[in-house]
Symmetry: C2
Subunit: 186 residues, 2 copies
């Protein structure tokens, strides 16, 4: 876990969240650190390795965050708002997207090793939402819970996608408010 390696991961994550996996450039990452691109390849042999490491770290961070929320003892409403706050923060930070959302859009262009890590992120999020639903809406069947978690997750990702396209964070807020108003979310 060298210092250089961490810098690569941090700069790489920002690049992907801003412009996508395709726009992730070894030469640009290297230039920002002040080394040569070949040195980046020493830490991450291929672009797929770097992309996979980025997605893996992202999924792992999401896991820790969700676990922390579930153990907080807060209401489902409060946990849900803290959860969506993370997606909102990405938009507030220079119109960035959740790393998952942008990589899902590029999915077919992703190396298999990156796809696996992207899939992990989805699982983490769905499990969190299912746990919330189980607490807040005990009247739902377990099949309905699975479907509803998917519907909520896709609604959040879509709100982020459209808000980014409009460069307007209030689009995100309004979409989520509407989803809540009809009873889709918490």
């Amino acid at each position: 876990m060298s210092d250089t390696r961490d810098k690569i991961l941090e700069i790489g994550r920002r690049m992907v969240q801003s412009n996508g996996y395709n726009a992730l450039s070894f030469r640009e990452v290297a230039a920002e650190i002040g080394i040569k691109s070949a040195a980046v390849h020493y830490h991450f042999p291929t672009k797929g390795d770097l992309g996979g490491a980025l997605a893996n770290k992202y999924a792992q961070d999401a896991q820790s965050f969700c676990d922390g929320l579930l153990q907080s003892g807060d209401t489902a409403e409060k946990m849900f708002r803290a959860y969506t706050g993370v997606f909102r923060a990405a938009l507030a930070d220079n119109n960035r997207m959740c790393l998952y959302g942008i990589m899902a859009a590029e999915y077919d262009d992703l190396p298999p090793g990156v796809r696996v890590e992207v899939d992990k992120f989805t699982e983490v999020n769905l499990h969190f939402l299912e746990a919330l639903l189980k607490r807040a809406k005990p009247e739902l069947t377990s099949a309905d819970i699975g479907t509803r978690a998917l519907a909520i997750f896709s609604a959040i990702e879509g709100a982020q996608l459209v808000a980014r396209g409009r460069k307007d964070i209030t689009v995100f807020d309004n979409a989520l408010a509407a989803h809540q108003a009809v009873g889709l979310t918490f």
Copy 2:
């Protein structure tokens, strides 16, 4: 409107829908047609010009489709199902995405000329959904209609994004069914 120009647009559209604007390659387009990449530049001087033309045509086609639906005299439910069917068809066709969705994800990496055309597509879709809402849910205020249209549009785009990431079209169907079940859509 030469034959070559049309071929470029068709191949280019498929490339963007599969792998994004960044993966759109003049050399690959040229190779598929059997000409040199410089010849593609004759029709579209820059990549931004080609991307803009693709997004423009996409928005225009959406406009025609939505206009046709609104004039069909069908119920809002039937029109909405025909509308979402287009997004579904993209997924069914080799896990492709709506051109808008993938370009919205890459938004910050897009040349200004492409962004303008991407924005047009959003407007077309929001106007269509607002027209549907006005008919089917006359109890909503005009402010609520705008918010609701945004919420529905983002929910559809998100369902497509997540379904693509999971390479599973039933995710799209289930998410839309859940959105309908809670009364978000029609």
